[in-house]
């Protein structure tokens, strides 16, 4: 039941991002509490209303049926973006965003090829129960927290979310990483690298 209810959160945040963009274009004041509430209610209605008549499923469950299950870091990134839109405050600053991208890409490269059958090892098996994955992830989270990087808090929340059963999966990997997060991380890191290389190239006279 918790996982079922939680499956509405990510689609709702995605709709909120789009609604924020549309409202900003229309000149609405996003910092107003009333606007924020209206957009939140609108987004929830969008994902919760049965919009798929042949099956009678809400949009959020249609997305869940396609296998879309957002990891905690992806949820945190999207939530941070929504929060910034409403309050102007960044929950995950540039450093945290960069750390999340590096973490997402590294996890994706480590997990997916082997979990999909490339090689005899299966890192996904480390996520079912307490294993070296837990202390390893905690060490990364602790190091980030010590350095004042807020992404460390996001990582520290992942086992908490697993204990609460927020996702259908009991596997810790599914709380740490998902295919969209890996893709977004790769795109983010790639575009950042491209931007840096452009900035480093001296302009022609």
């Amino acid at each position: 039941m918790i996982a079922w209810a939680f499956s509405f959160v990510f689609p709702m945040l995605l709709v909120l991002v789009l609604a924020q963009a549309a409202a900003a274009r229309l000149g609405a004041n996003l910092r107003s509490g009333r606007t924020a509430l209206a957009l939140a209610v609108f987004s929830l209605a969008c994902v919760a209303a049965p919009v798929f008549p042949p099956v009678g499923l809400p949009l959020a469950r249609v997305l869940a049926g396609s296998g879309l299950s957002a990891s905690i870091p992806l949820l945190a990134l999207v939530f941070s973006s929504v929060w910034e839109g409403f309050s102007g405050t960044r929950l995950l600053d540039d450093r945290a965003t960069r750390a999340s991208r590096v973490f997402g890409l590294a996890c994706g490269l480590l997990l997916y090829p082997m979990a999909m059958g490339l090689g005899v090892a299966d890192p996904y098996s480390l996520g079912w129960e307490f294993s070296p994955l837990w202390p390893a992830m905690w060490a990364v989270a602790a190091a980030l927290i010590w350095k004042g990087n807020t992404f460390g808090l996001v990582l520290a929340a992942c086992p908490l979310a697993r204990e609460a059963g927020l996702l259908e999966s009991p596997n810790l990997w599914d709380y740490l990483v998902d295919p969209f997060y890996v893709l977004a991380s790769a795109v983010g890191l790639g575009s950042a690298a491209l931007r840096r290389s452009r900035e480093a190239t001296p302009a022609h006279p």
Partner: protein, 397 residues
Amino acid sequence: MSRRARLALIVGSAIFQAWPAIRLARSPWRGEIAFRCAAQSELPGAPAAAVAPGRRDGFASPDSPGVSVHAGSIAELPDGTLAAAWYAGSREGAPDVRILMARRPAGPLADWGPPRELVSRESASRELGRHVRKVGNAVIFADDSGRLWLVYVTIAIGGWSGSSLNVKGSTDGGETWTPSRRLALSPFFNLSELVRSQPVPLEGGGFALPIYHENMAKFPEILWLAGPPGGALSWRKSRISWGRSFIQPAIAPLGPREAVALLRTCAGERAVGAARTSDACASWSPVRRLEGLPNPDAAVGAVALPGGRLLLAFNDSVSDRSNLKLAVSSDCGASWLRIATLEEEGGAEFSYPFMIRSRGGRIHLVYTWRRRRIRHVEFDDSWLEERVRAALGGQAR
């Protein structure tokens, strides 16, 4: 954030990390896992009902012209009742495919009852709260308490490679069932996990259910299940092999920690694959192709016999499923003796054998019969020994 706050967060998260480690002590998967491979007649449950000696053939499903019937499985309840499940529809993978079940009460004259629907794509969608495009392979099995389990495939997008697995259970012999529950098993959109063969019961409860992955790579795996399907179900997954060559493992336990997995090949070299474990699936030998046991990219059925022998049901061909034979191995699958031809007709299909050994020691085999029905063949040790003797006699001549 102050230094003290950071330290508090780090210590707090470390304390929280300890919780899963503490909980590990109560895990059903902790400690040495052992297969329950005692003679099935020693298993708990009511004494086996009287049955006719020798071999008995029949059909678990009615003849339904125009309906494609496939992928049968069979289970025995403690009172001797048999339950079979299969899928049927206008064609394999069609939206109208439903998973059906029939029962045969214990007794020498009892026959299979009419089938009833267990799962359709509509019911699966309703119970899972998600879009289901079609349903597929289902495996039915029973635990010692008489609870029936059904693990079945649903597809939301694409073909078989877009499959995921679901479980439901019944405590009244299949009259009523718990709502379906989806099993998250794969990190990549939870796609491409399928089931085909019978599970191996574990000492202390739970099952090792052979499953397989079929997207990009194709490899055999094991789904470990414990706890009631409608309650605090616990599951995890481990791997038998990797690569792109073998799927649909059928596992036969030879001892508490030893087992042989026999596999369908989907690679160019068409022969049944075999792998061995001697540590209850913690590790497996590399899969090797069994010389002399062809496989036309079709499922095999396997069961352990007393005395450490293996019984295999398979299509003895590299190209089609027009025959179904039985073979016995006395050396853990190294060599095989063909003992019986159950079906043989050019152009026809006899496929997807699924075997169990009952509490009374009888072998129950179900398989797809011309894609029209699910055939049920049962036989006892005397019939089997007679076939072995005849085959050995034929070899000697």
